[in-house]
Symmetry: C2
Subunit: 358 residues, 2 copies
């Protein structure tokens, strides 16, 4: 087992990474004090892993909420259902909410934990690669609005993240690829060596090699934990983690969260961020081509045919990165170095959208 | 104008108290930077004060949401309406939400501000005595659940509180009395002199004397600002501010938020807290009688006839003060000294409920 710490003073917490952690009851006994637990999962993950997790959490009072699977269910209405269950079971402020699943379950259960009685303890047990490398760490919780991705939410850090890499054995290939998009993002933002490693180990990763996957999860979490520790509320550096997301969110909300997995939309968004960086005179065309190549090899989309550039721009304007009426973008200087800027040529954005949407 | 500061490091903010502040545009220009503002008010307050506030906030982009009046509308569904308006108008993260009204408007608009894009700026412009002495300060935001009061919410401090005491001139007498309940609470918790002052100036207050009301607002805000500055998230001392509220919330939720104003329920709750303190051998019967007398003179209820003791207890058990399965109460040692305890005789609670409910 590997342990990482997210350093946030009195709200610091460990990320435990290893194979078979779901079955280790002593681990949960050591790290989790709450006696009343609400387990939130979905119809896909619960049959596979909820019995093992529930056994490891004994003896406690466990109540389960099983949600429908999919990003389109990440709504305020679904979060209200979770809150109703907490109230109906008279859970007190010393309870904890445990999310077992991917990013949708984690974001939504985290938002319920953030808002129930103004905040109760929250535990992440991510079971998708995307959640393990990215969304389970850092305390961003929330739900989607028909008008935009994650527009309703709260910062609420978990007290514990337990990443059992063995759960990836049952992950559909499409979900595995989606998770790789976020790992590629970490390489692009600040770790050229990770990017190169991904280029040279992509086949092992796509084949589900446990050691390679464990390496990617560890390194991604290390990077994210460090950035979140320095800038929890995204006043500065943390915004770099949104590389590809402003483009990707537009693709997701414009298709009503039905066509793309979040990681797939991020993949296409990374291709667009790289292209826009070239259009802005920041990055070399050769670097952008390497990004596109890796995404294609990973089976990720680099183009969103079903959304026009005009509609995409409309959806980008409501994204959380708008400040002072100007859309800020995360762009790349080179592979391994990103920057946030509102100072790019207007036609760099329009040309990028025209080339990648519609 | 009187200025108080709530000291919370980088989230500190001023409370401005004075007559006619709503009309002082320079004040808002100085303290509020956001260019896009959502004004949230209700059907009672908006016709009286929204035009003046809107004029003082020019030139900016102003969008208004006018909610129905009353505690029973303080729901997640109403908060969702406010969020919908923010999205529909493409408000960005650098916008601000301005609450003009009483505690319901402030709590609900504050919750929308806390959760829109994971938190945007929030301004309180309280127009009821209750909001001016209590709910506009301290960052507790939230909505009610059919199962209990304020069960869904977040801590989200305002960036500015503007209290125009002139708005009290149009406040219905019933609302004025409800506000006095929270002021009496501050005296009971930690300021015997304030309690005595209330005893000797009650007639002036009930008659709406501006100077007396200004004194009560200032002193109540001073006490609350100091306590919140020391214990923002209610890990300790801040829980004292809930004196009377566990009883009061039960009265409110058991009557579906329709029969009592929040301050009236708190008034009855203060009488119960005093009685339970006597039953627990903490406070003298003479002190409890003084509490009851002042509440009665203020026209506040000290008994909730429409709810049985059994139903009241059931509603108290879901309150946020339950820890480790045990209901904690805020009790009084004497007028001016409160304590939080789970260590009271069981029959002190049942006898108090039997005497004050049903």
């Amino acid at each position: 087992m590997h342990t990482l710490d997210v350093a946030l003073a009195d709200r610091s917490y460990p990320i435990l990474i290893g194979a078979g952690l779901l079955d280790q009851g002593d681990l949960f006994r050591r790290h989790l004090k709450a006696r009343d637990l609400l387990l939130v999962s979905n119809t896909t993950v619960a049959p596979l892993y909820l019995p093992a997790l529930a056994a490891s959490l004994q003896p406690r009072r466990l109540v389960e909420v099983i949600l429908p699977d999919g990003e389109r269910h990440k709504t305020l209405a679904t979060a209200a259902r979770v809150l109703d269950v907490l109230v109906a079971n008279r859970f007190a402020r010393d309870c904890a909410v445990v999310a077992l699943g991917g990013g949708v379950v984690g974001d939504l259960a985290g938002f319920a934990a953030a808002t129930y009685q103004r905040g109760v303890d929250f535990v992440q047990v991510p079971t998708t690669l995307l959640a393990q490398v990215d969304s389970s760490v850092g305390g961003k919780t929330g739900v989607n609005h028909p008008g935009g991705k994650n527009l309703i939410g709260a910062f609420h850090q978990p007290v514990l993240v337990v990443t059992d890499t063995r759960t990836l054995a049952t992950l559909p290939p499409r979900e595995l690829r989606a998770g790789l998009a976020e790992a590629i993002k970490y390489g692009l933002i600040c770790d050229a060596k990770l990017f190169e490693w991904l280029e040279s180990h992509l086949e092992e990763l796509l084949a589900g090699d446990p050691a390679s996957l464990a390496h990617v999860i560890r390194r991604s979490c290390e990077i994210k934990a460090a950035i979140v520790g320095r800038d929890e509320r995204e006043h500065g550096e943390r915004a770099l983690l949104n590389l590809g997301h402003t483009f990707g969110h537009a693709a997701e909300s414009a298709t009503a969260y039905k066509e793309w997995l979040h990681g797939e939309a991020v993949g296409a968004g990374l291709a667009m961020a790289a292209a826009a960086s070239v259009e802005s005179g920041l990055m070399s065309a050769a670097d952008s081509e390497r990004v596109r190549m890796l995404l294609q090899r990973a089976g990720l989309p680099t183009h969103i045919a079903s959304v026009t550039p005009e509609v995409a721009l409309e959806h980008m304007r409501i994204d959380k990165k708008v400040l002072g009426g100007r859309l800020r973008l995360v762009l790349l200087r080179r592979i391994g170095e990103a920057m946030v800027t509102a100072d790019y040529p207007a036609d760099a954005l329009t040309r990028t959208l025209a080339a990648h949407f519609g």
